[in-house]
């Protein structure tokens, strides 16, 4: 057992142990609980940093043991897993800070933070999983640990959303299990490997493997909210804002999208998948999802609901990217994994701030919010412009990369999808910005709270400001080492070189 074996395990255990400790702490131990939370989040960030540094210098990190006859439990850090692990480690720290402020004085905090840490442990496992079997373990653990967060408020509406969430995700999980078991029966235990496994394939396996692919995508598509499997997501926004932020930015929808990336790039392989004709179908489904999500977002009057439909649309950029055959398109998709996460978490933080500070949930109540809460509103504006794809923000980098990628492989219709989607993004975000900044306040805020000199609690204000600043920085330094884009280029090099 060298350090390189244990680091991935420790990265997982930090949040797992944090969760156990938090469950064990008494409900009233707020200060201690917050310290444990923040310490674990900080420690995880360091461990992920060590792994990123090591991988950049060509080291490998792997922990494995045999779990069942013929099946291994594998945690491995590679460039792709670090993309997701890094995102979740950074955003966990910020979301924890935010959640501490958000849940001040509310009941059941011990339960909330326990499951919250468990949820992050699951995403860490999903990022580090070295084969589909291990991936599935954490994928289902994520389902279970997010349910208590979705129903946290215990209201009728929350319980109904929770029920739908669990029906969708467990059914998706069953389909995914079927696909993984079938694949295992056909070809044995396959580790994730850049370039995939199926390049020189016997023709008689083509049929079953195509069917397995469809099942895999269907199973993963539930969490990734591919149309028509997206029904649970808009309802799940009844959860507390930090949960929505985590669900939409790192945990659930990203787990689905990340799984699809793993399956397409590292099980089937881009080349084999496109030869088998699997990618065109995926591209069409994701394009439909992009347009559908944006269109539905236009009609939502509730702020969080509009953001939820926007997520459905934005996450499919990732899937559209990997189904574009060419390396540039894949880079665009992968980099959006990070970019969408940071943009969406900013927007949900801000939506939570409006709700907590002013009691505002509906878009038509936002008139004049910019004057009352300038910090939050600036962050929201940056997030929204990022989504629309305005340069030099992160979202622009995505759309530019994907557009050039699509043109390079001659899929011009994808550019049309991107343009239409950007227009729709503008159509549902700009009216909100107009209300925030240019409309005068019509009536008193529905339920206002005051925090001294600041516009809202400092715990709530800083996280969105930091993520919003990150959006600008990431867009500006896109071509420097360790920026998401250059890290993604490192991954794509490996995928295509094989």
């Amino acid at each position: 057992m060298t350090a390189n074996t244990l680091i991935p395990l420790f990265a997982l255990l930090t949040s797992l142990l944090a969760s156990v400790i938090i469950f064990a702490l008494p409900e009233k131990g707020h200060r201690l609980r917050t310290s444990v939370n923040l310490a674990a989040a900080g420690l995880k960030l360091i461990l992920v940093g060590v792994m990123v540094w090591g991988i950049f210098h060509g080291q490998s990190f792997e922990f494995a043991f045999t779990m069942l006859p013929g099946v291994q439990f594998v945690l491995r850090a590679d460039a792709l897993s670090m993309l997701f692990a890094g995102l979740s480690a950074v955003l966990w720290l910020l979301t924890t800070i935010y959640a501490v402020g958000y849940l001040e004085d509310s009941p059941n905090r011990s339960r909330f933070f326990g499951f919250f840490s468990l949820c992050v442990a699951s995403t860490m496992g999903i990022a580090l999983a070295g084969n589909l079997f291990t991936f599935f373990l954490f994928y289902e653990m994520l389902t279970l640990s997010t349910y208590p967060l979705v129903v946290h408020r215990g209201t009728r509406q929350a319980l109904r959303a929770g029920r739908n969430y669990i029906i969708y995700t467990l059914t998706g999980g069953a389909v995914l299990l079927l696909a993984i078991a079938w694949l295992h029966g056909l070809v044995g235990d396959l580790p994730f490997r850049p370039g995939g496994h199926f390049s020189g394939l016997e023709p008689e396996l083509q049929g079953p493997l195509t069917l397995v692919f469809v099942l895999l995508i269907a199973g993963l598509g539930v969490k990734a909210a591919l149309v028509p499997l997206h029904g649970w997501l808009p309802q799940a926004m009844v959860a507390p804002a930090p949960v929505s932020a985590l669900l939409h930015a790192v945990a659930v929808v990203k787990a689905g999208a990340f799984g699809i990336v793993r399956v397409v790039c590292e099980i089937y392989g881009l080349e084999a998948a496109s030869q088998m004709g699997l990618l065109t179908g995926l591209a069409v489904v994701s394009a439909i999802t992009i347009i559908y999500g944006s269109t539905r977002a236009l009609y939502q009057l509730d702020l969080k609901r509009r953001l939820a439909f926007s997520t459905i649309s934005q996450v499919s950029y990732i899937i559209l990217g990997v189904s574009l055959f060419g390396p540039v398109g894949v880079a665009g998709g992968l980099v959006h994994l990070v970019h969408q996460g940071i943009m969406k978490i900013t927007l949900f933080f801000c939506a939570g701030n409006y709700a907590e500070t002013l009691g505002v949930h509906r878009i038509d109540e936002l008139d004049g919010a910019g004057r009352r809460m300038p910090g939050t509103s600036v962050a929201f504006t940056l997030g929204a412009f990022g989504m629309i794809g305005a340069p030099p923000l992160a979202g622009f980098v995505t759309k530019w990369t994907m557009g050039t990628g699509a043109l390079a492989v001659g899929m011009d219709w994808v550019v049309a999808v991107l343009v239409v989607s950007s227009l729709l993004n503008a159509a549902y975000f700009l009216p909100i910005l107009h209300r925030i900044w240019f409309a005068g306040q019509q009536q008193a805020w529905p339920h206002e709270r005051r925090w001294g000199r600041l516009e809202t609690s400092a715990w709530l204000l800083w996280p969105p400001l930091i993520t919003a600043a990150a959006l600008i920085v990431i867009g500006l330094i896109a071509s420097m080492p360790f920026s998401p884009l250059s890290w993604v280029n490192l991954i794509v090099e490996q995928e295509v070189m094989q």
Binding site: P148, H152, L170
Partner: protein, 489 residues
């Protein structure tokens, strides 16, 4: 050495039974807790010995069956001996705190508990059909007595019903045994198995096998013979329900599985195997659905047993006429299912007992708000539920994975529907309980807090069933410990 340990496992529980019969509740409890410790140590010692010396076959006192007692210990038997020590020990520990010493009839729990344990070890270690019958009867009668311990009219009614079913099952089994004895003049499993090829294809023998399996299926509560189980398991005291669901039904299944694996090749047929599997499959779906419909918490758990038992009978189709590799996967999967269900169901019944004690009502709806007051027991219940749903990383998941592989490997894809559909249906009834506990606006704020050790025991069992999935490989390796053909006088 091994002989001494095996005899210890069989006869010391009988000695504890007599001792506790003669003492009051408090002293019996002390004796029993010491006894549990002793039994666990002996079981552990047996494992160590078998792991170093191999399995063993023995005729006690040199008398062949039916007069003497034939014993054998192999990896599988050892696995179950240790499972009994863990689950039985936990239930005995729990019962000592849970049962009210003031009620005079509660002291009879202890002798019944020890008779039950003796019977269970007799089943795991028995090697001839008649002594298996004796052990099975010992189990049934003490189990009926334990159900009646509830003391109310409902408990007595359920106990009588249970007694009828158990006796009917025993009769069918005994009839089959008599037919086999008439044919071969031997009752030893190994002896008959050696003689079988000569006598294969005989309708009488097939009938005997069907009779024995049917009788055992009734005792195991295979659909549609499950009617007696939910009332009996639902009404019994929590530790008793846990013992019954975790261990008692497994004993009769264990014998049925042994018979099938020894004789099935010659006497079984594709149709019979598929029929038993289909009944199991229907049991999984129907039991889960009924569990979902129950309004009382312990009934939910009891019907869930009917469903989980159904999975076990998939052993029949998945081990008949398939390749060695698939048959091994099926056996391993079923063994894991037995272990994980035993651990999870015991945890669930004990936790349910705590929850009911806490809210003072046995209805699922009454759980509103309990997550704030009794999170620990609720958590144990939840973890056990994860294992029943077959979600990773629990033992239930490991079992399901192996069974999925066996179904795919043998081309019997229709069992996939049972495995995946059953998992989703069990999620439905488990989440119904979670959901009730998350509701915030409860009417009652009166919660009774059970003692700490009552809460710890189900948590330990639930964690074991959870961890089983992670260490499935070493646990399964106990099952395949080599069998040395030693023995004799």
């Amino acid at each position: 050495m091994i002989l001494g340990l095996m005899a210890g496992l069989l006869f010391t529980p009988l000695a504890w039974a007599v001792l506790t019969l003669l003492s009051g509740f408090e002293r019996s409890r002390l004796i029993s807790w010491l006894g549990i410790l002793a039994q666990s140590l002996v079981s552990f010692a047996l494992w160590v010995t078998v792991a170093s010396e191999g399995g063993f076959h023995y005729q006690l006192g040199g008398w062949p069956a039916p007069l003497g007692i034939e014993l054998r210990v192999d990896g599988l038997a050892l696995t179950f001996v240790m499972l009994t020590a863990v689950v039985g020990g936990a239930c005995g520990w729990h019962a000592g705190i849970y049962l009210d010493p003031e009620k005079t009839w509660h002291r009879y729990f202890w002798p019944l508990f020890w008779f039950l344990w003796a019977g269970l070890n007799g089943v795991w270690l028995g090697a001839d059909l008649f002594n298996l019958y004796v052990a099975l009867e010992l189990i049934s009668l003490s189990a009926v007595g334990l159900v009646a311990l509830g003391g109310q009219a409902d408990a007595l009614r359920a106990a009588i019903r249970y007694l009828m079913a158990a006796l009917l099952g025993s009769l069918a089994y005994l009839l089959g045994v008599a037919l086999v004895y008439g044919q071969f003049g031997s009752l030893s499993l190994a002896g008959i198995s050696a003689l079988l090829p000569a006598g294969s294809g005989q309708a009488g023998l097939v009938f005997a096998l069907v009779l024995m399996v049917a009788g055992l299926a009734l005792k195991t509560a295979l659909f549609p013979l499950h009617g007696w189980l939910p009332p009996a398991h639902g009404i019994a005291k929590a530790p008793v329900s846990a013992l019954l669901s975790a261990l008692v039904v497994k004993a009769s299944f264990y014998i049925a599985a042994r018979l099938w694996l020894e004789f099935g090749e010659h006497l079984g047929s594709y149709g019979l195997a598929q029929l038993v599997g289909a009944l199991g499959g229907v049991g999984v779906l129907w039991g889960s659905w009924l569990a979902f419909r129950q309004s009382r918490l312990k009934q939910v758990v009891a019907y869930s047993s009917v469903a989980q038992i159904g999975y076990l009978f998939l052993l029949f189709p998945l081990s008949w006429g398939v390749s060695e590799a698939v048959a091994l996967q099926a056996q391993q999967g079923i063994t894991l299912q037995v272990i994980s269900h035993a651990l999870a169901k015991a945890a669930m019944f004990l936790a349910a007992g705590n929850l009911i004690m806490s809210v003072g009502s046995n209805r699922v709806d009454a759980l509103a708000g309990v997550s704030r007051f009794l999170p620990f027991s609720l958590f144990s219940f939840g973890l056990a539920g994860v294992s029943l749903m077959g979600l990773p990383p629990t033992g239930g998941f490991a079992a399901k994975w192996l069974l999925l592989q066996a179904s795919l490997g043998s081309g019997q894809w229709w069992w996939l529907i049972v495995l995946l559909g059953g998992g989703l249906l069990s999620a439905a009834y488990v989440f119904r309980v979670y959901r009730a506990s998350f509701i915030e606006n409860s009417d009652t704020d009166q919660f009774f807090h059970p003692s700490r050790s009552l809460e710890v025991i189900p948590m330990i069992l639930a964690l074991l069933s959870l961890g089983l999935g992670l260490v499935a490989e070493p646990v399964l390796s106990v099952m395949t410990l080599p069998f040395s053909k030693g023995g004799g006088g």
